[in-house]
């Protein structure tokens, strides 16, 4: 068997109830290593994920979903993985979609698994607004089911991406701003088995998210990152 070049990154914060099934599903993918990044979980997520056969990274402080995913991307870069697939630990993303996501990665730098049927009216309005603001052509910007190729891994592992808080518009703007291509793949998703959306949990957090992301969009316009030293 060749050395695996694909890393499946599963960010998890207190997902002890669902992470084992997700790890098991991801391990069915041939030639892939499964990495769970525990975002300073307080429950048994780490032990459960280890038992399920995953490699586990434990963050010493809570960095949020994107901080955990970036940890996985940096791990991938360090260990020479050429592909990173990400999915949520709560079981909403079907692991059967991973091979399709991986296959689509050959043509584009980033593939996003989206489920348009699942979007609520509020989200449709919000995403339309952000599409107009940014010129991005992505339908479901927050989907955590993604595949990143080597160029995307290199770019997103940089410290310029470390102050982002969500794996959404900021990340996509960074990618498209540097000329990387993004492709969307329709995927049927399940309802969250437990837990709920961090972004759409209350009206206050929605407003905060909209303002925060609008500022991010305006600040990112035509931003080119300097060449990386030694790249």
């Amino acid at each position: 068997m060749p050395t695996p070049d694909c890393l499946v990154v599963i960010p998890a914060y207190n997902e002890g109830a669902s992470v084992a099934a997700v790890v098991a599903g991801a391990r069915a993918l041939p030639g892939a290593v499964v990495l769970v990044v525990s975002d300073a979980s307080e429950d048994d997520t780490v032990a459960v994920a280890l038992d399920a056969g995953a490699t586990v990274l434990e963050l010493p402080a809570r960095l949020g979903a994107w901080g955990a995913i970036q940890t996985g991307l940096r791990y991938a870069r360090r260990h020479g993985f050429r592909q990173v697939l990400t999915l949520d630990a709560d079981g909403q993303h079907p692991t059967e979609a991973l091979p399709r996501l991986r296959a689509a990665l050959g043509r584009d730098d980033v593939v996003i698994g989206t489920c348009p049927a699942r979007l609520s009216l509020a989200r449709r309005i919000a995403w339309t607004y952000f599409r107009l603001l940014t010129g991005l052509k992505v339908v479901d910007v927050t989907s955590g089911l993604r595949a990143y190729g080597p160029r995307a891994i290199d770019l997103l592992a940089r410290s310029e991406a470390s102050l982002l808080d969500y794996q959404d518009i900021g990340v996509l703007l960074l990618l498209s701003g540097q000329g990387l291509t993004i492709h969307e793949l329709p995927v049927a998703m399940r309802k969250r088995e437990n837990g709920h959306s961090r972004v759409f949990s209350s009206w206050f957090s929605v407003v905060r998210y909209m303002v925060h992301t609008t500022v991010l969009c305006l600040a990112q316009i035509r931003r080119r990152l300097p060449e990386e030293a030694g790249a």
Binding site: S38, E42, E58, P60, L63, G67, Q70, R78, S159
Partner: protein, 127 residues
């Protein structure tokens, strides 16, 4: 006269407090410099309060004391912005360090396993 005494006392107390904080290792050197300059300014102005009136006359400000308020508010705004910039830098460094720590811990663990050493105890939530 009493105004001079009060402001002089404030300036001296501020300077004394800053030196004490540095001495007790509660305040990082570069920050202390700025605060000491501020204390010096307060002491200077309290000793020569006429200076403000003179500056007001020179710049054509009708009510000179407002000049002091204006400068103070501007200084506070700049200070607060610099503070946020500093915090952002620290936040970035903290995130990068946390990530690297988690990665290195796992790499070390793998190396131990390869060398046949016993696994280290994992203690979630106690870092």
């Amino acid at each position: 006269m009493s105004l001079i005494v009060v402001t002089l006392a404030i300036g001296l107390a501020l300077a004394g407090t800053i030196l004490y904080m540095v001495r007790r290792d509660h305040l990082h050197g570069p920050y202390a410099l700025g605060w000491l300059l501020l204390a010096a300014g307060i002491i200077g102005l309290s000793a020569f309060p006429r200076v403000i009136d003179r500056i007001g006359e020179m710049t054509g400000v009708y009510y000179p004391p407002i000049l002091l308020c204006l400068v103070a508010i501007a200084a506070l705004l700049i200070k607060s912005l610099l503070g946020d910039l500093q915090r952002s830098r620290q936040e970035r460094a903290l995130r990068r360090l946390s990530q690297k720590l988690a990665i290195l811990e796992q790499d070390m663990e793998e190396m131990r396993v390869r060398q046949g050493l016993p696994a280290l105890r994992r203690e979630p939530g106690r870092d």
